[in-house]
């Protein structure tokens, strides 16, 4: 496994969705390659950053429409 292969497998690795041989090759490469170790770390940091984005607000006009629809249904 070379670096260009590894970067395409990072999500499969984090999802624990690789066969054991591929996983072993992935981890062997990681242990020997600081560039790929950093790449994996940055994907994890990216996921973490995305997880801290604030929730979206709902437009009050649409909310009112939906509650009106509820009252009509009820």
């Amino acid at each position: 496994m070379d670096c260009q292969d590894l970067v395409e497998l990072v999500t499969a690795y984090l999802e624990d969705d690789m066969d054991p041989d591929a996983r072993a090759r992935f981890e062997t490469h990681l242990g020997e390659c600081s560039g790929c170790a950093t790449y994996l770390e940055q994907i994890e940091q990216t996921v973490h950053t995305l997880g801290t984005l604030p929730p979206e607000e709902l437009d009050p006009a649409l909310r009112d429409r939906l509650l009106d629809a509820f009252r009509e249904w009820r």
Partner: protein, 212 residues
């Protein structure tokens, strides 16, 4: 965060069946923004997406007495949404498959950052490896500007990638649930997630000024 409190969910279902408006309002507040995002991935305009969302909520209310709890309430809700959105959508299934195929094969990291196949040593290894990002005292790369960069890049992603990344990484739903919600295969879900994450990572790297 991905754990679903089943007793809590059962209470919500029971309250809806009892025509309790506050339970409905709570569900609407929690899920409608993401429903709009998902609908927008299938239909041509924000207005049509709002119609799809409204139609979905009405279908949920009309169906709640028959809901058997074989999936979670939110999975059921999103499956109804996707079905309605597909019917209303101008981008038919053929187009979305083509969109997926067009993005599946290409590399997610600029090939120029690797040594060429013909390099005498270490072909396909990093020529310009990423360098570690500076960390804040809390041990993360967080900061208001970094969040803005991530948020802006999300908006630039192709629709299907953005939907999967938001459901998985922003909202924290698990892989199986997201595949079920969107009626896509586990493999497609993973491809879309990976491509979306790779785009956002690149945007953060560009902003943080390291690497190529």
């Amino acid at each position: 965060m991905t754990e679903i409190d089943t007793s809590y969910e059962q209470r919500l279902v029971d309250s809806l069946r009892a025509r309790d408006e506050s339970a409905f309002a709570e569900l609407v507040d929690r899920h409608t923004p993401m429903m709009l995002r998902v609908a927008r991935g299938y239909v041509a305009s924000a207005e049509v997406a709002e119609d799809v969302v409204q139609e979905t909520w009405i279908a949920v209310l009309q169906g709640i007495d028959r809901f058997e709890g074989r999936s979670t309430l939110r999975t059921w809700l999103f499956r109804i949404l996707v079905n309605i959105a597909k019917k209303r959508g101008v981008r038919d299934r053929h187009d979305s498959d083509a969109e997926l195929a067009a993005f599946t094969g290409s590399p997610t990291v600029d090939p120029g950052r690797f040594l060429p196949r013909t390099a005498p040593e270490d072909p396909h290894h990093w020529a310009t490896p990423p360098t570690s990002w500076p960390e804040s005292p809390e041990g993360s790369v967080l900061g208001a500007e970094v969040l803005d960069v991530a948020s802006r890049e999300l908006e630039h992603l192709p629709d299907r990638q953005r939907i999967v990344v938001v459901l998985r990484d922003v909202l924290g739903y698990d892989a199986a649930e997201v595949s079920a919600m969107l009626s896509i295969t586990a493999a497609n879900q993973r491809v879309l997630l990976h491509r979306g994450r790779a785009h956002v990572r690149q945007a953060l790297e560009d902003y943080l000024g390291t690497g190529a």
